[in-house]
Amino acid sequence: MAYTETVDAHDHHDHPPAGIWRWLSTTNHKDIGTLYLVFSGIMFFVGGAMAMVIRLELFKPGMQFVDPAFFNSMTTVHGLAMIFGAVMPAWVGLANWMIPLQVGAPDMALPRMNNFSFWLLPFAFTLLLIGFFVPGGAPAGGWTLYPPLVLQGGDSFPMAIFAIHLMGASSIMGAINVIVTIMNMRAPGITLLRMPLFVWTWLITAYLLILVMPVLAGSVTMLLTDHFFGTSFFSASGGGDPVMFQHIFWFFGHPEVYILILPAFGIVSEVIPTFSRKPLFGYEAMVYATASIAFLSFIVWAHHMFTVGMPLAGELFFMLSTMLIAIPTGVKVFNWTATMWRGSLSFEPPMLFALAFLFLFTIGGFSGLMLAIAPADFQYQDTYFVVAHFHYVLVPGAIFSIMAGVYYWLPKWTGHLYSMALGKWHFWLSAIFVNVLFFPQHFLGLAGMPRRIPDYATQFADWNMVSSLGGFGFGLSQLLFPILIWKCVRGGEKAPAQVWEGAHGLEWEVPSPAPYHTWQDPPSEAQIAHGAEH
């Protein structure tokens, strides 16, 4: 009897405290998910504003607007803000919101740590961004932080290092939370191979985070001691090696790339089956392909460094191991295509973004295969071809699938349907402009334009102008996204529990909007069976 009362008393907590205190003190996975997503959206526009400055200066040859040093700060902080501020927090936000719902858990396993890991981020990015106002300006050595150049930074250098430490600590805590939640809090009946792909890809991502974020922390700490405490890890004059930094950095950096993209595979693997009204093709192959990609990510790092002068055997190894990645990635693309085959397709905004992901990520995969070929990479390395490649996998790859996820689950979060028309406008403008923005950069790179330059020879003028116009169009189009979300939060047609006709999964078994507390009683076998699809 006492037990029942406790449960009842707990239910009364359904109303969170009002005002700012709710958000500062919250341990609720949905609130924290929202915080992460809002933060990610803010950083997306901060990083995006820097991209606009970059494209403005590159609109035509000659220096028109900014000093070259400031331009370098723009590219550097744009990269850091987008990777660590926009994409990673978006994934953690989606994980917070959706993983407990999808595995039938009442919350994340470590709710207080969850709050802490979020609230580190605003401090981390404040520290990074006030670098613009200290002597020497913001970090300008590239997001890859290569010494000795990065050691020439001004007062913002130690601030950026500390900011990265905070981001890393936040990511590690987020990853621990995801792993513990998935491993320990799945509802009875949700076996590992009954988990939705988003949960699977996040589980693998979380292991990658735990394995590599400490490596990043170590490498930037060595930078710090080289700068302030007289060590010579990366200085040849003291017996160190600047290339060693690159090896350590990319041992973090390549898995990091997959940290940004594996959850995208998960989202797309949820969205395409829903709007094809057909279960995912080759579920187990998808899980194993994800795990293979994660494993390969640890043995390919030096393909980022083919021009540093490695021994032949090293270049061969990293070329061949990198080419292997095409196999599991190909399996994924084929499986998504086979999921649509003999399906019944409709094209709501989540599906549109997932389809754009499918086509454009594949283009990024093709340029990735070209980059793997070491002798050819001597020509591509550090040119706009590389810029085009990684923006294809990160913008229509990672960011479009974040948008697909938001469009997919937004009615579940807000309880309202959003304007399909506005969503489609947002999609078509984004999909067209992203190609105008990034496709010409392939040509620029092949024609010989290095990356990270504030000004260029006149033969690069035409495609740069096209790219800049695409950039401005893409940037403006993104303003539709917060407008749509704001309108959907404020009101709209009431969303049913099962928002999408073809959707499966436990998140559709709870009402829309999802109550403040869900799955305090684990889902029934019937609910699991109804949600299961493979």
Binding site: L149, G282, W341, S344, P375, A376, A457
Partner: protein
């Protein structure tokens, strides 16, 4: 106008002169890399094109199936889902095996080219390349001749923030230097690449050489330019190296073996003023360099520790 400008130039090297008066028509809207001027660069170009066409064929097939599905299996056209189609071992084996085969086919020529680029034996001339913030230093090993190569003055004026100078009016804007690196054609030349301050990367697309210049370490690269491909070829620093990373171009001036030898003799004589015979030797070269300009080269030569 051009003659007047060239008169102002410090450099008397034919490289700079040629650069100034050479037609500036450049490939706008360029889509692809060029084949370059050596056997290796052509190999790399063919490798690039082979992988590109493989990607195009795969893209046509994969996107074809995707687009067919998008058109054929629309709910609005009454498509009924076949929910039993969730697994097909045969198809999955095929679409794993075929990519493996394609990768092997690509790996063979890639490996062969990689081994070729690595073979820096039997070189006939060695040049030391040193990256500085933000210029390139060259030293012809053995002869002691040095060249310091910085962005040319016209580009440097025009590239200042708010200079008011139209970059289109500057020939080879940002791709021109005061002193080019003079190299012989039809000769296997070895480069020993390093840097003084931060990491740079020496890149000349026509040679398909991009090699990082790393302080404290020496990287090796080599090229053998076809005898017919004399002329000027341009490149840039390819590794972010600070504020003026975008403003340290590379120009190589490829000459016939005989012209190169003559040039090197002259430079050697000019750069060693202790040698009394030096000034007299100057007029004998194919591309005469004035004593004043040569002196400038000597002054600008990097101080080496």
């Amino acid at each position: 106008m051009k003659m007047k400008k060239s008169g102002l130039l410090l450099s008397g090297l034919a490289a700079a002169l040629l650069t100034m008066v050479a037609p500036t028509a450049q490939a706008a809207w360029a889509l692809n890399m060029t084949q370059g001027i050596s056997a290796i660069s052509r190999n790399i170009y063919s490798l690039h094109m082979m992988v590109f066409w493989v990607c195009v064929v795969l893209a046509v097939l994969v996107f074809g199936v995707m687009i067919y599905s998008l058109v054929r299996f629309r709910k609005s056209q009454g498509a009924v889902p076949d929910t039993s189609l969730v697994h097909n071992t045969k198809a999955e084996i095929i679409w794993t095996a075929i990519p493996i085969a394609i990768l092997v086919v690509m790996a063979v020529p890639a490996t062969r080219t990689l081994i070729e680029t690595d073979d820096a034996t039997k070189t006939e001339l060695t040049i030391r390349v040193t990256g500085y913030q933000w210029k390139w230093g060259y030293e012809y090993v053995g002869s002691g001749v040095t060249v310091l190569s910085t962005l040319d003055r016209d580009s440097n004026f025009a590239r200042q923030l708010g200079s008011g100078i139209d970059p289109n009016s500057v020939p080879n804007y940002l791709l021109n230097v005061d002193h080019a690196l003079v190299v012989p054609a039809d000769t296997k030349v070895r480069l020993l690449i390093s840097a003084q301050d931060v990491i740079h990367s020496w890149w000349v697309p026509a040679l398909a050489i991009k090699k990082d210049a790393i302080p404290g370490f020496v990287n090796e690269a080599w090229f053998k330019i076809d005898a017919a491909n004399t002329g000027l070829f341009r490149g840039q620093c390819a590794e972010l190296c600070g504020r003026d990373h975008g403003f340290m171009p590379i120009v190589i001036d490829v000459r016939s073996k005989a012209d190169f030898e003559a040039w090197l003799r002259t430079q050697k004589a000019l750069q060693q003023p202790a040698d009394a015979a030096a000034p007299a030797a100057a007029p004998a070269t194919a591309a005469p360099a004035s004593a004043a300009n040569a002196a400038a080269t000597v002054r600008a030569a990097p101080a080496r520790s």
